[in-house]
């Protein structure tokens, strides 16, 4: 028993992680790179569709609702693979030329679409939480719809939805680990490659899991702190 443990401890040697830092650190940075690009797509699309869902037009509302459902109910992995293979072929057929998406483009589109479904709901709830009187007052003062949205509704809505949105950023970051499946050199991809090289799955996968654990735990703790402070702040009561 003790023998087995000392063997394990020797095998768990974290030095291998340090040894391969030259590929592993850029891998982790790639996760952040994909994350930031995806956040842009997800938040932009989410806001756009949320406004569609709140429109006076029944058809636009239905389209927005359907979009959100489809995005939320499709598993991320199939979305990723589908976006990577299918749209380039369809576009290629349409214009009669062979094209392909780079893995990064496919990843950002797929993950962005996937989480924009959730952001739509968050934005919608945030906008609905702004008292109707504020909108009516702004309109009565002669502000245009766009100006009302920009100056009155969104600043308040964003404050309402921030706690929820931050949680979604965290799950989006978790989702970025999937990009290694279409050969984007993120941390998990590099870990798999190094494992093939060295046959040392134990320290490498454990190390990767711990790195993600520490990072994401730090993020969720930060989110909780900020959320608590916002709840206490008197500005939130308005």
């Amino acid at each position: 028993m003790i023998e087995k443990f000392s063997e394990l401890a020797k095998d768990l040697d974290p030095a291998v992680f340090w040894e391969y830092r030259a590929v592993l650190i850029p891998g982790l940075l790639y996760n952040f790179y994909v994350f930031f690009l995806t956040v842009g797509v997800a938040v932009g699309l989410g806001l756009f569709v949320a406004i569609l869902r709140l429109s006076h037009h029944g058809v636009l509302r239905a389209v927005g609702g359907l979009y959100a459902e489809v995005c939320r109910n499709t598993p991320e992995y199939i979305a990723l693979i589908w976006i990577y293979y299918v749209p380039p072929l369809l576009i290629g057929l349409a214009i009669g030329r062979n094209i392909s998406f780079s893995p990064l483009l496919a990843a950002v589109i797929a993950l962005g679409l996937s989480s924009s479904g959730y952001f739509t709901e968050t934005f919608r709830a945030g906008i609905l939480a702004v008292p109707k009187g504020h909108v009516e007052a702004a309109r009565a003062l002669g502000m245009s719809r766009l100006a009302t949205m920009q100056r009155i509704v969104l600043p308040q809505a964003i404050r309402h939805m921030l706690p929820e949105a931050m949680n979604q950023f965290v799950s989006l970051f978790k989702g970025t680990t999937l990009v290694s499946l279409i050969a984007i050199p993120d941390l998990m991809y590099e870990v798999s490659l190094v494992t093939m090289d060295t046959d040392r799955a134990l320290p490498l996968y454990t190390g990767a899991a711990l790195i993600y654990f520490v990072l994401i735990l730090a993020m969720t703790t930060l989110v909780r702190k900020v959320t608590d402070r916002m709840r206490k702040s008197p500005r939130m009561t308005g």
């Binding site: 109910n73 992995y77 199939i78 998990m188 899991a209 993600y212 654990f213």
Partner: protein, 224 residues
């Protein structure tokens, strides 16, 4: 209708069906495992003093690691450390189970903490034992309030189950990738697969919504 009989979905129906069955098996086993493990973790973190911090650590660890990382970790590391799981199918189920167990443990905790202290004290005063109080007083009341989180977690497990294909569990996703690489008809095959998942998840999510609304109306709950 001719189109349907020539479609990829019909021609490869056996592979799709086999995959779907494996997906269902992985999902159901993983989900049941998650409920049991989540309940055990919750009980340990709340009532078993010496195990409080270890179980809290596991809950946080399971919740804060991405499912894909968890899956590879379970698949490659666990067999060397504890000699189990020794198959891809087992590893897939285990990874799904531990991932969701962390979330469900928190759901159980929130539900149990929602029960007023007075009820538990009353039960204790009647001489009921801890497990009996849990079974007769606490759980029957929290089942309804926890139902939405539980259903939501089932959808998460179904969606995450696509990833077990990465460790060669022959689920629906695996079959789709295999067929694509053999026949190279990604447009049809991948779209059909995406549609199958979409229909399953949407149907369940719709059914859960109907059920939750009904429970809310029946018990006068305003929040899930």
């Amino acid at each position: 209708m001719d189109l349907f009989w020539q479609s990829a979905l019909w021609r490869h129906r056996e592979a799709f069906w086999d995959g779907l069955v494996v997906t269902m098996q992985v999902t159901v086993i993983g989900y049941i495992g998650a409920i049991l493990l989540g309940f055990a973790l919750c009980m340990m973190s709340m009532y078993v003093r010496p195990l409080r911090w270890p179980s809290r650590f596991f809950i946080e660890f399971f919740r804060a690691t991405p499912i894909y990382v968890q899956l590879l970790w379970v698949n490659y590391v666990w067999p060397k450390v504890i000699g189990w799981p020794n198959g891809f199918f087992e590893a897939g189920c285990t990874a799904l189970a531990v991932q969701s167990a962390g979330y469900l443990a928190e759901t159980f905790r929130a539900g149990i903490e929602g029960i007023s202290r007075g009820q538990i004290e009353a039960a204790q005063a009647q001489g009921m034992s801890g497990p009996l109080i849990m079974r007769r007083i606490v759980l029957p009341q929290v089942v309804h309030t926890m139902a939405p989180s539980f259903m939501n977690q089932l959808l998460v497990v179904i969606k995450s189950s696509t990833l077990v294909s990465v460790i060669a569990v022959p689920d629906l996703m695996y079959q789709a990738l295999r067929l694509t690489s053999i026949w190279f008809e990604p447009i049809e095959i991948l779209s059909c697969t995406a549609l199958i998942y979409l229909v399953i998840v949407s149907a369940l999510s719709w059914a859960f919504k109907v059920y939750t609304d009904r429970i809310r109306a029946k018990y006068g709950l305003t929040r899930g």
